[in-house]
């Protein structure tokens, strides 16, 4: 039975005269990953800051674990984990001591630290100074700190930004494990592949407005109106053809003459949906 951990209703945020979030609505349940997808400045980080009590909304409301976000107290912080681009580590301490410090604060038995370090693949580096970690290791340490107390809700603001594919995959694997263990994950990213791979639901955010909301598959299907084939011939040329009777005949002709090398249907991706909807790229 899934439990609703976050509900956002008609949330708006204005800085000076400019709206950075306009009337957004979303829900996040346990065992789910909700992705907020959008380019820089779309309002993703502002949403996380409001949900974690670091900013107050201008209007509307949001609840996290049954508490309104502008009334978040330390008890809620004991049940959530936050990874943002402004999450820091104590560089003069080694990995183990960094986690031990937060384990004391969050009342986590220190035996759990080694288990966690093994789980995120940093156990052999536990005596390494945090200031000497690679970017991927540092990000995993920050993630480890955020999940140390097994929070119900995990906020991740661009967790794989700037990481190589291998390090990103490790984090993706861990996030799927955490989700399957019951954690609700609120993820912001501008990486559409990451969102499509991980998220149960995504909100495509542009200039503070959610332009599409739903599962990645449902959003892509909804926008799969102009169906196309991508055909590659043996002479190396590629053709993008609309799916109709005329092109079907043409394709049959290429097949019969042995000129057809590959053929693919072209479904929209979250990136193309975003581009079609907003006229903007996600990067």
């Amino acid at each position: 039975m899934k439990q609703q951990y976050i509900s956002i209703r008609h949330l708006s945020k204005k800085f000076n005269k400019d709206f950075v979030l306009k009337d957004i609505n979303a829900v996040l349940n346990s065992n789910e990953i909700l992705g907020f997808l959008g380019p820089s400045g779309a309002g993703k980080t502002t949403t996380i800051k409001i949900l974690t009590g670091q900013l107050k909304p201008t209007s509307g409301n949001a609840e996290i674990l049954g508490i309104e976000c502008d009334k978040i107290n330390e008890r809620i912080y004991e049940q959530i984990g936050i990874v943002t681009d402004s999450s820091g580590v104590y560089e003069r301490m080694n990995l183990y001591d960094n986690l031990k410090y937060f384990a004391r604060i969050l009342n986590v038995p220190s035996e759990n630290i080694d288990l966690l370090l093994k789980r995120i693949g940093l156990y052999e580096h536990r005596k390494k100074m945090a200031g000497k970690l690679s970017k991927g290791q540092r990000q995993r340490l920050i993630l480890a700190r955020a999940i140390l107390h097994r929070p119900k809700v995990l906020f991740l603001d661009e967790p794989t930004n700037g990481l190589d594919p291998s390090a990103s995959n490790e984090i993706h694997k861990l996030l799927m494990e955490l989700k399957n263990e019951g954690m609700a994950i609120f993820l912001t990213t501008h990486n559409m592949e990451e969102a499509a791979k991980l998220c149960d639901n995504v909100a495509l955010l542009n200039d503070g407005v959610i332009v599409e909301y739903g599962s990645p598959q449902a959003i892509c299907l909804k926008h799969n109106q102009i169906k196309k084939y991508r055909v590659r011939l043996t002479d190396g040329t590629t053709h993008l053809l609309l799916q109709n009777e005329k092109t079907t005949g043409q394709i049959a002709q290429w097949m019969n003459s042995g000129q057809l090398e590959t053929i693919h249907s072209c479904e929209p991706t979250l990136e193309t949906v975003f581009l079609d909807t907003t006229g903007r790229n996600l990067q």
Partner: protein, 244 residues
């Protein structure tokens, strides 16, 4: 800062971390400098006095003055470092409340400063009675508390350790130089008598001379400055949090 419960577990963790910060190379130089300054002043004043008068008390008061003033910088820079390294927000969203962080920040500074103040007495080889030790420790601790709270106020506005150094420098000059030069000008003397560092300087000189360490006016000045600094910090914290 709301009146919230203090969890000893969190307070001790923050205090330990801050003590670790103060022992790092960026900060440990300050108490070492105060001890060295006290030693230097002792040598210098013994040389000047040439055994005719005992100026050990004055050497001690200058060393303690420097140590108390450095507490302003240490507290401000330690808070600024947390902001610079992005650990403050991490900490505040990990269930540590403002009061726990505030106390955890000033307690190590007070402990370290008190330890240095005690060592300074041994450096100048001053012999104090039990009551003199009591008065000395109470007055210097109250002054360090005020200096630490003033440091936290500067820390709210300092984004980096460099900016902490820059914005605390004028205050350090006032807190140190006005009492040190108060003997040369009646105006400076009047101002010094209104500063916690001036009260500390006078009290230590009086203790070393075997006189009453502090008068009612001094007690009032320390009480008012302790209250005002705490109130000002509270107002600014409520407005800005620990980050302006």
């Amino acid at each position: 800062m709301k009146i919230t419960a203090i969890h000893f577990r969190k307070l001790s963790a923050v205090t330990e971390m801050k003590m670790r910060t103060l022992m790092s190379k960026n900060f440990i130089i300050m108490p070492i400098f105060s001890l060295g300054f006290t030693f230097l002043m002792k040598i210098l004043y013994r040389s000047i006095a040439d055994g005719k008068i005992n100026m050990d008390g004055y050497a001690l008061s200058l060393g303690v003055l420097m140590n108390i003033s450095m507490s302003v910088y240490c507290t401000a820079a330690a808070l600024a470092e947390e902001k610079e390294k992005n650990t403050l927000r991490t900490l505040m969203t990990s269930s540590v409340n403002g009061l726990e962080f505030f106390l955890g920040s000033i307690i190590p500074v007070i402990i370290l400063s008190t330890a240095v103040n005690v060592l300074c007495v041994f450096i100048v080889q001053l012999t104090l009675s039990g009551s003199q030790w009591g008065a000395y420790l109470i007055i210097t601790t109250v002054c360090t508390f005020i200096a630490s709270v003033v440091g936290m106020i500067f820390g709210i506005y300092a984004k980096t350790q460099v900016s902490a150094s820059t914005i605390t420098t004028p205050a350090l000059i006032i807190f140190m130089m006005v009492p040190m030069l108060s003997g040369f000008s009646s105006i400076l003397e009047k101002i010094s008598n209104l500063l916690f560092t001036g009260i500390a300087l006078n009290a230590i000189s009086a203790i070393s001379a075997g006189k009453a360490p502090i008068h009612l006016s001094g007690i009032i000045v320390l009480s008012v400055e302790a209250f005002l600094s705490a109130a000002l910090f509270l107002i600014l914290y409520r407005k800005n949090g620990f980050e302006k």
